[in-house]
Point group: C2
Chain length 385, copies 2
């Protein structure tokens, strides 16, 4: 199988991730922060080290402000529902995943205001349009770092600058970039960073985190045992406990830590260069296939490792679902088709409601994988009318 | 090490659990329900089979009404916050864990009413007291199946009968019983069942579930991508998708499934008998130690596999934390001390705020483990004044 669905879940993981998960599950899966015995202390250490590893990769000064969550969706919900109140205003874009759009819609039903800034059809968000949308009651700017459909990277530095000039915190959804595109939290002055563990960070599914800057205070989503201030019937006031109710996914989080350590050890620049090279090869290869419609910007450095396309042919083209099916069944190539939980992005690209075929190369893909994928698409496209 | 902290997290797990987690993480961790390629289909199957395994163990007719969560806390929050509205009334007990108490306190601050029924000092809840507490605006009865501190099992059948007579749904927190004490969901007519995966179900940490009966409709806590009805900016109306936003913990859930299969294959009655025998041996052994205060009911069949005690000595006794430390450092015995995230339970038992020492034998403990634990406690107690 040639796996080109890394934007959904990276595969394979570094061997060290598999081993760490198994090792912690077998030997250190007592309750972190709940008991004093030796195995609980080892579980504590596993969590502590993972928090340090995440902090190192993202240049986060306060590791205790990294809240482990089961995925990016939970991190985004904590940020959005924890911050935005009825009567308050949020600026977002028409490139967001449903993990941003759906919680915002829920809050809009409760009386919050949401404005979606419209990026260009290639997915480029103008920072000025974000700035222009900020109002006196704006309390949150929520943007994706890179669209999961079209890959275009958001100019986050300029957006943060524009938002901070109006004292508005910025939430970055780094689902498609964290671990592959460098994110310097302290350098950017980022307020909220939501990341999945199972994509470019090479952790297992069931992991993710939200970083919360010291200036930001959120309402918790989950209330429950923390192993701290257990005499109180409210959540403790300090982090990470305030937002980490219930037993954590110790083996998964340890695996996420191992993934971050792998990235630091390889060098994120090297990972990025390899993925950019693969995307460039893929885009160039696909561009040479007759009847091909490629979405997004041309410069592979301006996008995350995501290439979406449709075979439009000369007359009516091909349904992306059929293309995906044939890639899987005839060529053993795993891609993702449809609208990728991001209807607004497809509306922006002009591919709604049919969607597109998405190929997302990862660090473990090779140039040969890409060439085979291009050949397979060319072969399928020959059948298009 | 002799591990007697199974009420926090069971250890070890059946070998099949370790293997299933590793196998799924290595070979089937694509995104369930998100793509059509072979590995995504395998991830789908892993989740589907785990849902079926949970359904089989708990006699649940509709597996699609089992919502996978990262732990029991998230399941309880979904049930409580999803159901109880301001102005509505909840009946609960003074034996609950903070995973019930804290979300209820949060809702009370928003205008819900909460009444805590007082069990006896041995932790016995009178079903009549629950019945008597139900008012015209009661919309939820939330009770633990067995206290995590004192172990006393709640007469859930009678409580359900009393609540249903007033058309009030019942939420059962089965954190200390699921997998060890039989729970027949359809037989009981249970409305909401919250379970952790990492305790008696032998799954890894990071897993749990909420079962929601067809008669119950909850507001979601998390909003986000489901891979279904992706064109909508609201959550889909059908289960499990409505409550399962974001990528699931596929390897963890598969491990939870393997844990449930292990229980079905061993026979829950056999597991229960073994744990009851260990508890009986432990209680009898500890009762023979001079200066010992044992909490809870005498009949080991009337409690989950949890034995809490304090060395009260003749004069001032010993701090439970010191007892735990010595058990760990001198005898290699892992227990949990303190108030176990359940201050109300300790108030009921009369052990607040110091707490107690808790030993929780699991299916993989032996009579020899118990004898060594009793000897160690006896040795430590000899130093008590």
């Amino acid at each position: 199988m040639i796996y080109l669905d890394n934007a959904a879940t990276s595969h394979p993981k570094p061997e060290a991730v598999y081993r760490r998960v198994d090792d912690v599950l077998r030997h250190a899966s007592a309750n972190p922060g709940r008991a004093g015995h030796q195995m609980a202390v080892e579980a504590d250490r596993a969590i502590f080290e993972a928090r340090e590893s995440v902090a190192r990769l993202f240049n986060i000064k306060h590791p205790d402000r990294i809240i482990f969550t089961p995925n990016a969706t939970a991190a985004l919900n904590l940020a959005i529902k924890g911050l935005l109140k009825p009567g308050e205003h949020c600026v977002t874009t028409a490139m967001e995943h449903n993990s941003v759009t759906r919680p915002l819609k829920f809050l809009a039903q409760l009386g919050a205001e949401v404005d979606k800034v419209q990026p260009s059809p290639k997915g480029v968000t103008d920072p000025f349009s974000i700035k222009a949308a900020i109002k006196t009651n704006t309390t949150l700017v929520a943007v994706t770092h890179a669209s999961n459909v079209i890959g275009t990277i958001t100019p986050i530095g300029e957006i943060i600058e524009a938002a901070h000039a109006r004292n508005v915190p910025v939430l970055l959804d780094a689902a498609q970039t964290a671990g592959s595109v460098n994110i310097d939290v302290e350098g950017l002055g980022l307020d909220l960073l939501a990341c999945p563990g199972h994509k470019c960070l090479y952790g297992p599914q069931g992991t993710g985190f939200l970083y919360i800057a010291p200036s930001v205070r959120l309402k918790p989503i989950l209330y429950g045992g923390t192993g701290s201030r257990s005499d109180m019937d409210t959540m403790p006031d300090f982090l990470p406990d305030r937002y980490e109710a219930g037993t954590l996914n110790t083996p998964g989080i340890a695996g996420l830590g191992a993934g971050c350590e792998f990235i630091v050890s390889e060098g994120i620049a090297r990972i990025r260069s390899h993925e950019v090279a693969l995307c460039k090869r893929l885009m160039e290869g696909l561009a040479g296939v007759p009847g091909m419609k490629l979405y997004g910007v041309d410069d592979p450095w301006a996008r995350a490792s995501v290439v979406s396309f449709n075979i439009i042919g000369n007359v009516e083209g091909m349904d992306p679902a059929s293309v995906g099916d044939r890639l899987d069944s005839e060529f053993g190539i795993a891609v993702r088709v449809g609208i990728h939980c991001a209807p607004d992005a497809h509306k922006t690209m002009g591919s709604y409601p049919t969607g597109a075929v998405r190929m997302s190369p990862g660090y473990f893909n090779t140039a040969e994988d890409i060439d085979k994928a291009v050949e397979a698409v060319a072969e399928i496209a020959r059948g298009a009318r």
